[in-house]
Symmetry: C2
Amino acid sequence: MNMFVNLLEKMSSMVDVKRSAVASEESLFRIFTVPEAPGSTLAKIEQDISNNLAGFLNENIAAVEKPLHEIEKDFQDAHIPEEPRFVSEHAQQLMEQLVAHSVHTAAPSFIGHMTSALPHFVLPLSKLMVGLNQNLVKIETSKAFTPLERQVLGMMHHLVYGEDETFYKKCMHSAKSALGAFCSGGTVANISALWIARNKLLGPDGDFKGINSEGLMAAMLHYGYKGLAVLVSERGHYSLGKAADVLGIGRSNFIAIETDENNRVNVDKMREKAEQLQANNIKVMAIVGVAGTTETGNIDPLHDLADLSVELGCHFHIDAAWGGATLLSNNARALLDGAERADSITIDAHKQMYVPMGAGIVLFKQPDACNVIEHHAEYILRKGSKDLGSHTLEGSRPGMAMLVHASLCIIGRKGYQLLIDKSLEKARYFAELIEQEDDFELISEPELCLLTYRYVPEQIKSVLVNADEQTRLDIYAALNRFTASMQKRQREAGRSFVSRTRLNPHQYDKLPTVVFRVVLANPLTSKEILHDILAEQRELAKTDPIFKKYLSKYMTS
Amino acid sequence: MNMFVNLLEKMSSMVDVKRSAVASEESLFRIFTVPEAPGSTLAKIEQDISNNLAGFLNENIAAVEKPLHEIEKDFQDAHIPEEPRFVSEHAQQLMEQLVAHSVHTAAPSFIGHMTSALPHFVLPLSKLMVGLNQNLVKIETSKAFTPLERQVLGMMHHLVYGEDETFYKKCMHSAKSALGAFCSGGTVANISALWIARNKLLGPDGDFKGINSEGLMAAMLHYGYKGLAVLVSERGHYSLGKAADVLGIGRSNFIAIETDENNRVNVDKMREKAEQLQANNIKVMAIVGVAGTTETGNIDPLHDLADLSVELGCHFHIDAAWGGATLLSNNARALLDGAERADSITIDAHKQMYVPMGAGIVLFKQPDACNVIEHHAEYILRKGSKDLGSHTLEGSRPGMAMLVHASLCIIGRKGYQLLIDKSLEKARYFAELIEQEDDFELISEPELCLLTYRYVPEQIKSVLVNADEQTRLDIYAALNRFTASMQKRQREAGRSFVSRTRLNPHQYDKLPTVVFRVVLANPLTSKEILHDILAEQRELAKTDPIFKKYLSKYMTS
């Protein structure tokens, strides 16, 4: 400890003379060796979180929204502060400038995004994870975390693919296998899956050493393809386009296929398009099924897609970042029938598995799928090692698998089943509620716990029925602006939150249509809250400036 | 709350009859609404961490290593448990099966990897981060976290590039700019930088819409290149090869250039290679400088590389995942002279900035560099928004920027300067110590706080001086096996940890040479500990089976 004391002595002599030497010594000595004193600001914050997280968030997050440009004023200085600072002082500022103006993602009335209230036990476990500070890239810095992560991947693989005991006994902890990979989120999971699909398609062949070694250009010349394509529903997540860019396939070769009125991809159209492409010597590298879509929660016909992938001889990936958790309910898992035929599948544990942000998962049907992206280095990831980093896109990364493991064990499959079933039930309830109200309109039915809707007064619905084309288009445009305005005003008022997106629903002649979007995964969202949200929206509509300007004229007709 | 109570009633009736209904109701009701009771197992664990993290780790991580195949026995079941489980029960098991067999990355005597003891304040702040559970992909789910992250990127940009006030005022919070990106770690940072380099090189041109849209094949045909190449020192991090694979360039076009005896890239050889490639119509897409290398901590001649990149008209990236923090010390930052000329630079805050795992950063000299990888979607990342997710490889991700921000403010630049200076001083001290000992041999001098060395008894050194070639090669091979054996035995004994790697040092005729590798960044590592480690290694050597079998015969000669 001598060295550290010297460091502190030197430090105290360097600190701004306006600060007392004692104070600076304290503020610096504390940081590596002494925990926060029980009475300190940060300790009190922590205690408040531990005692009552919901209360803490309710009290400390400002209800009324502060405009972004106002918030930015507190984050203007591009200089790293020269002098050290007391932890308590920083904590105080953090509460005022950051926490107060963060988003209450756990609030039961904030039903516009895919985050939810979290189980309490993840808080102390997260702290344990940070305190242990393991690095999952290699066993040397993660030890038991590596078998634990492999087990969680095994459990998730079993959930999707349901192989037998022998399979998991052989593969789960084998250096030659990887049943999947953990990553920060669904985007990296999707990129990883398509990376594998690309490298598998363009693998070593005769003199050609494989795309991983020689690159895409050489691979295309060797295999004689003019281009590569990936096909997915027009409701596919934007991360898939990003994957196409990163992997060198190109966004324009990432082809969006029309959906039916239920936002499910039209497999016949996909087949047609694929045949057209292949006739032009553009190889379909992969088709992607969505389960469920980010905007509406609908699930593509997975068996039909699996059949098509067999016909085309291509990789079949499923983006189940949201819907994957549905497999945990024996009552609902039939919605994802066919998922077990996918070559790879993305599931985000930080979505409907109630784990904090940063827990993406991709699973591979074949335990050796990862071989085509394997890499080694001298000082780590040596050949034959069980290091997880030898087949992941990311390198160093934290032990989030611990939180997924804990959630699976503590909530249990039956616990998850209840959570999933209740969320589906709640979405159906809200859909019925919307349909009962004359001035609301359900746009997409909930297949999972997502739905979309609009506020459209009955009189305007009536006008639309008999309107000429120009009037109809005028009203459509006005309704779009009005819906966006309502959504923004509701968010700013801070009592509740629904998100918005743009769809092409058949009700609106497949024209771009702005809608409210809700995700009903938070177990604390009650039916009362759903009633309140509609009531609040009805009130907001009465004072909406866009409505007044463009739509009120139709109310008198 | 009614719905939740119903859920619990239903749940309690479903739970295994062997568990009491009350217990199961409690164990499930608790999870979303009631914090851990102060006397519960998990609450006690958390209290222990808060009171004394070092003590907690020392007590709970088993000193003696349990073999991996033994640990794996606790993680065999591939079935998600059907029934819910008490948090305390799970916590207890976690302590025995996971925590006990994790790696004590914070231990001052564990100097083999790039993790260190962490400042105490990151523990409660991590808990706050998890409790807030923001998603940084978009403002809608992160609010003040977005300006905060932009500020941290501004501060880090200023640290590297030192632009003036006007620059940061204009760019830091602009929807049109991104001074960098946060990501899970250095690997994603490096991939992001090379992705930008690739897309910038092969951008839109006349009828060609750009590689991001049309893909690599079309881009190469349009620009008339036969191939792409990236040049880097043979000591470059393996993640760069991974980037070459992912981006479709191919690992064999990722070209390793020889280093000098100080592990710094030979820029003349790089120039020669680049000219050769370009003469063959293979376009050098980027050159990468390393600052410092993962294995030895050496820094490439950055100014010479910057000059070369100007000559070649290519992107200049610096992988400063480890060394970037050195810029925080005014006494040491000259080591990275020329960094300010890089188009992009990777810095891992979870390395020598003492932030927990998961805080990678990539910075861009030009505030519009990201435009070539920009992407938008309907429901988020709308054009003109300040959403961070519109220009990052990852999508959903946690608010780690908060921890970097806190560390910069609380430790301050001067605090970091002391930490960096002390680590360099400690490495020089250890190097001198090794050189003073007859039976040790310094292999690479510390330029940053990394060094490599071996245990080689004086008698063997003498034999080597006059040995014939075959004997020399035999001894080299034996020393390699011996060094590996020592490293493994030291790790298994659990008192201390050095890592090992394979270099080609001039002392060993540039032949592959296994060496001990140490990283002296932990502020709690004392000089005494360094002495102890050498003493322990000397003892281990006496009983080493490989030494006995292959090397002891030379001791008597």
